[in-house]
Symmetry: C2
Subunit: 361 residues, 2 copies
């Protein structure tokens, strides 16, 4: 394991080394079956046990009642951007979307492509999405309010949910799903691509409240209706079996090794706290998000002397710290510290940042 790098990639991103080892051991023969999880029928007892375990552990981690369905849907979050308006914005309805950066903007665009009723209820676009906006006057007639709980590109995160006056929230949690406890009661739907906090890319996890299912029209293409995934328990066609297997192992690790989401959140706060504290010590580094809106998952910052940024990235990589270059649309530095990024990795990054500052101050 000594050759594992400190991986700060924004996604796909680090998975727990213990999970990777378990996958490696069983790769050619899962539990003595003589075949890999990749090679077995999705309708056989072995895989049915795996998908059930993934589903049950997600329900238990979030404390979900039977009012919620856990679905494994194809296509990542981006396909959900298109499916949500198809499924939930009816004729004459206007959905409320909160605009907090790249991904929420894409979600809005997909509703508009379908000529659906869309209102931008709040936006932080006036200051390059560096903060979480205040939300007020949500229409009581709206079918839902869409939000992005964590914004990977700009490094912002919602720490308190907006008041929607009872209108169901639909939340893209791709980059902070399963990273902290959650009161799920305001949510009609929670979704996320697997590839940040849960497993390899290739599937999205969708948590759907049962009353939302009744609103889905009957005439959608089968694979684009959430009802299909509810009715067929995510097995209308072959699901992404290996990513779901990884999710079953990651959620087991969250429960049994990490001790559940409250414990995970505490670790995530320590990791982010260490980095933000270092950044705030002087003006050599400068955080890009407003302090109250800072993300525990993606720590985005600039160097006061921006010309040093390429050297920072180059030398960090040479020191065994990967994936620190900021998103190409904004530049700068980004440390993505999802659940699987260890405190030791963050400590190594802090040490590097400290050294780099001393040498280039």
């Amino acid at each position: 394991m000594n050759d594992r790098i400190h991986n700060f990639s924004a996604g796909p991103s680090a998975l727990p080394t213990a999970v990777m080892q378990e996958m490696q051991e069983g790769l050619l023969s899962y539990r003595g079956s003589g075949m890999s999880v990749m090679e077995m029928s999705h309708r056989g007892d072995l895989f049915m046990g795996i998908i059930e375990e993934a589903r049950t552990r997600i329900k238990r981690l979030y404390g979900l009642s039977d009012d919620y369905e856990v679905l494994f849907v194809h296509g990542g979050a981006s396909l959900q951007f298109a499916m949500i308006p198809m499924n939930f914005i009816g004729e004459g309805q206007i959905a409320e979307y909160i605009e907090t950066g790249t991904w929420s903007t894409k979600a809005i665009a997909e509703a508009r492509i379908q000529n659906k009723g869309v209102r931008v209820a709040a936006s932080s676009g006036d200051r390059e999405f560096c903060y979480i906006p205040k939300v007020s006057d949500i229409s009581a007639d709206a079918p839902f309010v869409h939000m992005t709980t964590n914004n990977t590109v700009r490094g912002t995160q919602w720490h308190d949910l907006p008041d929607t006056g009872g209108v169901p929230l639909i939340a893209d949690m791709s980059s902070d799903i399963l990273s902290r406890p959650l009161d799920v009661s305001p949510f009609g739907m929670i979704y996320g691509g697997a590839q940040k906090n849960m497993g390899p890319s290739g599937t999205a996890v969708v948590i759907l409240r049962r009353d939302m299912v009744e609103k889905i029209p009957q005439t959608l293409p089968t694979m684009l209706s959430y009802r299909t995934y509810v009715d067929k328990e995510s097995m209308f066609n072959t699901p992404a079996t290996f990513p779901i297997y990884a999710i079953s192992l990651v959620t087991k690790w969250l429960e049994e090794t990490m001790g559940g989401l409250a414990a995970v959140e505490a670790v995530n706060k320590r990791k982010a706290g260490a980095l933000y504290t270092l950044i705030d010590e002087d003006d050599f580094y400068c955080g890009t998000a407003d302090k109250a809106s800072r993300s525990l998952m993606n720590v985005t910052f600039r160097l006061k002397d921006r010309e040093l940024e390429p050297l920072f990235v180059e030398q960090s990589l040479a020191s065994g710290l990967a994936g620190l270059k900021g998103h190409k649309s904004v530049g700068g530095i980004r440390a993505s510290i999802y659940n699987a990024v260890s405190e030791a990795s963050v400590a190594a990054l802090c040490e590097f940042m400290n050294d780099f500052r001393r040498k280039h101050r």
Copy 2:
């Protein structure tokens, strides 16, 4: 490797053991990078090399000119059933579909759900899809003719392409893609879920002729337009990185170990030939497909005494032969012998079938 089972699963199905070993070795650190392929950015040099290799090897195996794009699309073949009519059946047009079993029927249903113009040009539904029908009088105005080249449930396969009078063929090749050489010139599009002949489930491979791209409407949801995958080289969002990695290894194995598709086809003919020969020796076993339409990929048969079938399945499993139970909709026995099922596995099955017949004749 001694504990690998003989795996005749219909899909997800056996992958080459050598490919599985290579995946296993690099699972925690791909080529010394310190991270798994699952954990790396899809936009980094390492993964860009992997997806390019998968694309290039598919192009080379089929001898594709630059008129063809190789795309990695989310959602398996079933999502393509919905995307094809969206992308290619225009206002007032009527597409021709050939009905040869379960999957082609589903493809037709998805076009009808969208109220698209559909004609069933030929069907073998009159005799439970046990043969490949003759096709004539295709309308010259049709935007495409849709076919399923291999029918996994009934064990039939097209051995000669239908004459469409120049109308482009769109073929679901999920279960025989990359199993034999192909004259691609009649095809506007070829597609298949990865999980039979190419890799783990979670992505579909789509081979699209460039002139088809021009026919795609401008206003489709982004993730449901093949144009997006062409323009963004399958990277509009995070593709299913690990399945694509597996495809790069499987196609390398097809080229470098197996020696290309002509050599693969010769092996596949020997494997199927051995089984069909044994089946035809007397009436203990009985093939379910007409001889001229028999599949090289899925050998379906019944026992004359059907009451012996459960015992056949049970004893085969005890002998290290997995996945032989027929599809639940038709019963009987099915041996799926995709590229990765070795001649040794087929020999083991023949030996078992011979013994079973001797004991129960």
